[in-house]
């Protein structure tokens, strides 16, 4: 096929939304290179899902089906995709950078003696794939250096699902050779731990605190600011890892995704994993001591300064403004 193959993600018959962002990326890459774009869906039975994909501008849609692919396992997916890739021979394999892809795609690439170019935020002519280094402090251009196939995963929110082009595609069934003995791990049911009484996604104003707060006892000043603003209190992962705030207040790829009217980030450097959870916010204000902190890349208003001075002053000014 010597084209682009996009590997879509589904669980229990429901799409992972990021799949369509990867599909948009795959279509754009194929258009740039003047080659075909196809897509693959993996599962026990994916009939409804491939029917939906048959209405997209794709050469082929592969329904990769097997009873042993009902629940996700890295072993099952790697074996199934390895045989699909060997048969179809794409030059580029594009995936959404989900937790599931992180679990199997590096092993899949290894089967082809390749390294996955992961968490890509842009594509340029070449093709050059851009990814972030040092928690977002730098960008880096990566290129395929040998014959490939080239494996690429795209970061959430980089490409728009709405940009997927409509069209018509042929559906092809693909049944991989798969034995139960090849699947070495046994996945259990999905479960949630926290009571999830806090729905940050509904909040219109969020005050969020990060590593810069230093110690648990300092969180009080951020709580006071949130109270003065009538805001929900949120945090970046390290704060919840330390147990300073409950996990259910975490914003980012492993926590909640929010899009409030105002996101006020206090002492948050803005690691990629945090930014993907809040970059849809309408207005972002960042207070940080490091002027090079990546949070300022997405901030509308920035304050470079000591949060222990700025935050109490702001709380005081807010309370005064309210009268």
């Amino acid at each position: 096929m010597s084209g682009v193959l996009v590997v879509m993600e589904q669980r229990g018959g429901a799409w992972n939304r990021m799949s369509f962002e990867a599909l948009a990326a795959g279509q754009q890459l194929a258009a740039k290179l003047g080659i075909e774009c196809s897509a693959a869906v993996i599962g026990e039975s994916v009939k409804t899902l491939v029917t939906e994909l048959a209405g997209k501008k794709l050469a082929k849609v592969f329904a990769v089906q097997h009873g042993l692919l009902k629940d996700y396992t890295s072993d099952g997916y790697v074996v199934a995709l390895e045989s699909l890739l060997k048969q179809t021979g794409p030059v580029y394999v594009v995936l959404p950078h989900t937790y599931q892809v992180r679990d199997f795609a590096p092993a899949l690439a290894t089967r082809f003696r390749q390294s996955l170019i992961s968490d890509v935020i842009a594509m340029h002519d070449g093709p050059v794939f851009v990814r972030q280094l040092l928690q977002g402090k730098l960008n880096a251009d990566y290129k395929q250096a040998d014959a490939g196939p080239c494996f690429v995963s795209v970061q959430a929110g980089t490409f728009r699902a709405e940009d997927v082009e409509e069209g018509a595609a042929t559906v092809e069934n693909f049944t991989p050779q798969l034995e139960a003995s090849q699947i070495r791990s046994k996945p259990g049911e999905l479960f949630r731990e926290a009571a999830h009484t806090v729905d940050l996604s509904a909040a219109s104003v969020i005050v969020s605190v990060g590593r810069g707060i230093g110690e648990q006892e300092n969180i009080g000043i951020v709580e006071e600011l949130a109270a003065a603003l009538g805001a929900e209190l949120a945090a970046s992962r390290p704060i919840c890892d330390n147990g300073w705030l409950p996990m259910e207040r975490q914003v980012g790829s492993s926590g909640q995704t929010v899009a409030p009217k105002l996101y006020l980030a206090v002492g948050i450097s803005g690691a990629i994993q945090h930014l993907v959870g809040m970059k849809g916010s309408k207005t972002v204000i960042a207070i940080n001591k490091d002027e090079h902190a990546p949070i300022f890349e997405v901030a509308d208003y920035g304050v470079v300064g000591d949060l222990f001075e700025v935050v109490p002053s702001l709380t005081k000014a807010l309370l005064a403004a309210k009268g």
Binding site: S74, A107, A109, S115, N139, L190, R211
Partner: protein, 253 residues
């Protein structure tokens, strides 16, 4: 259980990053280095498993001479032995190349369990562990919060997106990439630091690099995604300016 922990040394989190004249990598001359934070959680998990059910914890780290300090710190925290894989050209190797270096050592050590962090704080590719497992032909699981030894192998708690989790069972030997937050990190004690001096650190040469499948061509500062208005002044002045913005621009007051 013999546990091998693969750790990486990375620039400190608050480091001011400069770019070399060639534009291909960061200027390392004035940087301070530390253990990659997710790898610190992998080491912590290994130490706790050993405390629960006995065994040995071996740490390995590839890199130039400077990684010795990170290995010594791991020994001071409680690891039993350290392996320094000397390589001055890690930047020339891709993920597969680095994992191949680690796989050579892992084969010789033949541990029951290999632990590493889910990703590095510098390159952030998030793949070395999975590739290492694939090269060794052992099962793996990623983003692990909790590890439990069972009669037949392991039962691990894997983190998924949006606050979901899943238990996965697997036989040994296996490789796990550890997510942060599952445990509290320990500090090295004075006694630990003293003891570390008597522990073995083996230095081995990394195999010669093969040509990589992907190449890092250029590093640069990210373009701004938004026009950021920086507010300056004393804390009181900044606060007053912010209140103005919140009232008239953002309109949340």
């Amino acid at each position: 259980m013999k546990i091998l922990v693969a750790i990486k040394q990375v620039p400190e989190r608050d480091a001011q990053i400069g770019i070399t004249a060639s534009g291909r990598w960061i200027d390392e001359s004035d940087l301070n280095y530390t253990i990659n934070e997710p790898d610190a959680y992998a080491l912590e998990e290994a130490l706790q498993l050993k405390e629960k059910s006995g065994g040995e914890v071996v740490v390995m780290c590839a890199g130039p001479e400077r990684v010795g300090s990170t290995l010594r710190e791991a020994l001071a925290k409680g690891a039993d032995r350290a392996i320094h894989i000397e390589a001055n050209d890690l930047g020339e190797r891709d993920t597969l190349g680095v994992a191949q270096v680690l796989a050579e050592i892992a084969k010789d050590e033949a541990p029951d369990l290999i632990l590493t962090g889910l990703q590095s704080d510098d390159l952030g590719l998030g793949q070395t562990g999975v590739v290492l497992a694939e090269l060794l032909g052992i099962p793996h699981a990623t983003l692990i919060m909790h590890v439990e030894k069972t009669v037949t192998g392991l039962r691990v708690k894997r983190e998924l997106e949006d606050g979901w989790f899943q238990h996965v069972e697997m036989p040994l030997p296996a490789l796990l990439t550890i997510q942060s937050g599952g445990n509290k990190l320990r500090y090295a004690t004075l006694m630990g630091i003293k003891k570390a001096k008597t522990k073995e650190t083996k230095t081995l040469q990394a195999a010669a690099a093969v040509s990589p499948s992907i190449a890092l061509e250029r590093v640069y500062l990210p373009e701004k995604q938004k026009e950021t208005e920086m507010l300056t002044g004393t804390p009181a002045e900044v606060a007053a300016k912010l209140v103005e913005k919140l009232k008239f621009e953002v309109r949340v007051l």
